[in-house]
């Protein structure tokens, strides 16, 4: 009560209110006048156009500008699928650390000023529904039960051989380094560490998938060749998988591996996996058809 009594007259006199700056401080501010600089420009890589949804993938800056295929099979699968579904989107280079789920790809939908939730990232496991809702093309019905079985073939046998070929095969060190290590850092120490971690992670992944403590690489390559053979037989003389008139999600999943193995821009030194694939012309043809469908103008 005592404290409030003297405060009351203070409020009535504006001369000495709380908001007047004390004289000594005012002198200091007069010595150093406040200068407002022009705002910094946004970084060049920041999205300039928010009208389109952006798919974040592993890609180099130049490739991303041109919308070329990503060099990561999972990213390429979804990139291809979105194109097949007729979704208009851009791609942007990114890394696992940027993803809300810890793995690429993810998609940020086009921003709309009225809807705050429109900027919620869509992880890869929800991309299929997104593409089917937003896409302009009607796609093949993917509910077929054989799809699950053949998807297991791609996700186990072919993926394991891919992981060995790219990450663990000593011949392809240079390629791995060029794709995944060099963009991260210029420091040798950091690069060595990243390389080591990547290779350990790939090895763990293969061993877990096979379920054995040691696996000879030849077994992985033989497994992948059998898988290619089965895929080739399943494709038969059809244009797309499972006798569909239009390419679907599974075509994109197969293309993601076959394209990267056959792409001349990637310099494979250990070409065992690529050689196995070349034995099956149906798959090579499938890749070319899908490439010209999605990236027709690139293909000379």
């Amino acid at each position: 009560m005592h404290a409030q009594a003297p405060a009351a007259p203070h409020r009535t006199t504006p001369r000495s209110s709380w908001f007047t700056i004390p004289e000594p401080l005012r002198l200091v501010f007069k010595q150093f006048p406040l200068v407002t600089y022009a705002p910094n420009e946004l970084p060049i890589r920041s999205p300039s156009n928010r009208e389109l949804p952006v798919l974040y993938v592993f890609a180099s800056d130049q490739d991303a500008l041109k919308g070329l295929p990503s060099y990561n099979p999972l990213c390429l699968k979804w990139q291809t699928f979105l194109k097949l579904a007729g979704v208009q989107f851009r791609i942007a280079p990114s890394s696992n650390h940027a993803s809300p789920t810890g793995a690429l790809p993810f998609l940020i939908p086009a921003s709309s000023p009225t809807d705050a939730a429109s900027q919620t990232p869509i992880p890869s496991n929800k991309l299929e529904r997104y593409a089917l809702e937003r896409g302009s093309e009607k796609l093949a019905d993917t509910a077929g039960s054989k799809l699950d079985a053949y998807q297991a073939l791609v996700d186990n046998r072919i993926r394991n051989a891919w992981l060995y070929a790219l990450y663990l095969s000593p011949g392809n060190y240079a390629l791995l380094s060029e794709l995944y290590v060099e963009p991260c850092s210029a420091s040798t120490v950091v690069r060595t560490t990243i390389m080591h971690k990547l290779r350990r992670a790939a090895e763990t992944e293969v061993l877990r998938s096979i379920g054995a403590p040691r696996v000879p690489p030849t077994a992985l390559y033989i497994g992948a060749e059998q898988a290619f053979e089965a895929l080739s037989a399943a494709l038969g003389s059809d244009k797309w998988f499972f006798g569909s008139s239009r390419p679907g999600l599974f075509d994109a999943a197969v293309f993601a591996y076959t394209h990267l193995l056959l792409d001349d821009r990637l310099e494979w030194i250990d070409t065992r996996l690529r050689d196995s694939l070349l034995k099956f012309p149906a798959l090579v043809e499938h890749r070319e058809k899908l490439l010209s469908r999605c990236w027709g103008y690139e293909n000379e």
Binding site: S145, K146, D148, A149, Y150, A152, L153, D155, N156, R157, Y164, L168, E203, V206, L207, R208, S209, G211, A212, P213, R214, V215, P216, P217, T218, A219, L220, Q226, A227, E229, A230, L231, S232, A233, A234, G236
Partner: protein, 431 residues
């Protein structure tokens, strides 16, 4: 021809789906006099560290599909897959891949991750298969591998609050103390707390199981077997291996329940019954009589100890990975040179580990820092003065301690450290 497998459990010839499939397939294809089953329960018998493993003419083949291919290519027994078309072969490979990824993940959850099934069923089964010190290491290794397998199903978090040592899940209500030692107030259990992990997972698990059954059932269609009505193929036996183990009766038999309610699942039950009664050689309840069992070569104590030490070394932090790599684990050619830096690293890590353990032992043996090394003893009076013999006689009746006035110095050296008017502090110092 010897087939090495994981041994029998739950009334079935093997605890492992691929071993069960291999036993059933071999029983169907190979005459009984030409082969034998060995329950070796040791993955290290085969060079690939995988069971089932077939040993024939000095050649080891491991894994179900490889064994089927080997039998077709290198022996005179007619293969069950001989009549398949190219497209059917492709389907068979794809479905085998599906079974060994999705099927084995579901089975891992059902028998290994699920805490009640693990403590009441699977772990005891392994305990009866393995000999004493190995029961401490091998089942735990298998379980952690199973947990890793179920990761992509989104069910592995259920194992998180389960103590991997004994598989018992630490209930939230029985921990009376918080980490700081205060009494924990009993929390009112919510619905999700009071559910068993199996029940919490049931909703997601049910849709996974239904997908699994539907996928398998659609390939089979209205036929008796996966490819036609005439004869079973290798895929039928593989599916049998997985589905039969999924039907094992556990404390929470949700798979069985889901299977009988689901139309695709109940058709698969019929398929299993047909296969069991008409094709498969071994019969429920008479596993010993209907299969050509051979006793595994008895393991020496040295061998067992080294397996145990090997498993234990894997778990030493910092050393385990180098040790595994040095032992030859990983994805590499067997001929690939062992990296000399790896050897140095492993030796260095082992020495550092030993030094750390030694240091810890020495540290524990040291007396507390700052404490002087004094020894205090009760003053010796009575017959205690005469050493151990005296101590024995002192307790006898009639040898009551003679009255020794405090003023009489004891035979030990006596040192007065403080003497006031009425108080005298004396310290006996033992020479």
């Amino acid at each position: 021809m010897e087939l090495h497998v994981w041994g029998e459990a739950f009334g079935l010839p093997s605890i492992d789906p691929e071993c069960l499939a291999a036993i059933s397939y071999m029983g169907h294809v190979v005459p009984q006099k030409d082969w034998s089953v060995v329950a070796s329960n040791d993955v290290s018998v085969s060079p690939d560290y995988v069971l089932p493993a077939l040993h024939h003419d000095g050649i080891w083949t491991s894994g179900y599909l490889s064994i089927v291919q080997y039998l077709a290519a290198h022996t005179s027994f007619s293969s069950a897959d001989g009549d398949l078309t190219e497209a059917q072969r492709a389907d068979a490979l794809a479905y085998a891949s599906y079974l060994s990824s999705r099927g084995s993940a579901l089975l891992s959850f059902f028998l290994y991750v699920s805490p009640s099934a693990w403590t009441e069923l699977t772990r005891p089964a392994y305990s009866s298969l393995l000999r004493f010190p190995l029961t401490w290491t091998v089942p735990l290794k298998l379980r952690s591998a199973a947990i890793a397998k179920t990761e992509h199903l989104g069910l592995d978090h259920l194992a998180a609050d389960i103590d991997p040592e004994d598989g018992s899940s630490e209930s939230k209500a029985t921990a009376p103390l918080t980490a700081t030692g205060f009494l924990r107030l009993p929390t009112r259990p919510s619905v999700s707390d009071s559910m068993q992990p199996e029940q919490a997972a049931a909703i997601r698990l049910q849709s996974l199981l239904e997908d699994f059954f539907l996928t398998l059932d659609e390939l089979r269609g209205n036929d008796t077997y996966f490819f036609g009505d005439v004869k079973p193929t290798s895929l039928d036996f593989l599916a049998f291996g997985y589905l039969r183990l999924l039907r094992v009766r556990t404390p929470h038999p949700f798979v069985e329940r889901c299977m009988s309610r689901n139309p695709a699942g109940s058709r698969l039950i019929k398929f299993l019954d047909t296969l069991q009664t008409e094709v498969i050689q071994w019969k429920d309840g008479q596993i010993q009589g209907t299969l050509p069992w051979t006793q595994p070569a008895s393991q020496s104590l040295v061998n067992m100890t080294s397996r145990f030490a090997d498993d234990a070394t894997e778990h030493i932090p910092g050393v385990g990975d180098s040790w595994k790599s040095w032992r030859g684990d990983g994805v590499k050619d067997s001929g690939e040179m062992r990296d000399p830096t790896q050897v140095l690293l492993a030796i260095g890590a082992a020495v550092a580990g030993l030094a750390a353990v030694g240091g810890a032992v020495v540290f524990k043996a040291l007396s507390p820092f700052g404490g002087a090394t004094h020894r205090w003893e009760a003053p010796k009076s009575g017959l205690y003065q005469f050493g151990d013999i005296g101590a024995i006689f002192n307790s006898l009746p009639g040898f009551d301690a003679p009255v020794t006035p405090a003023s009489i110095p004891s035979p030990m050296e006596r040192d007065t450290v403080y003497q006031g008017e009425k108080v005298e502090v004396a310290v006996d110092v033992e020479p």
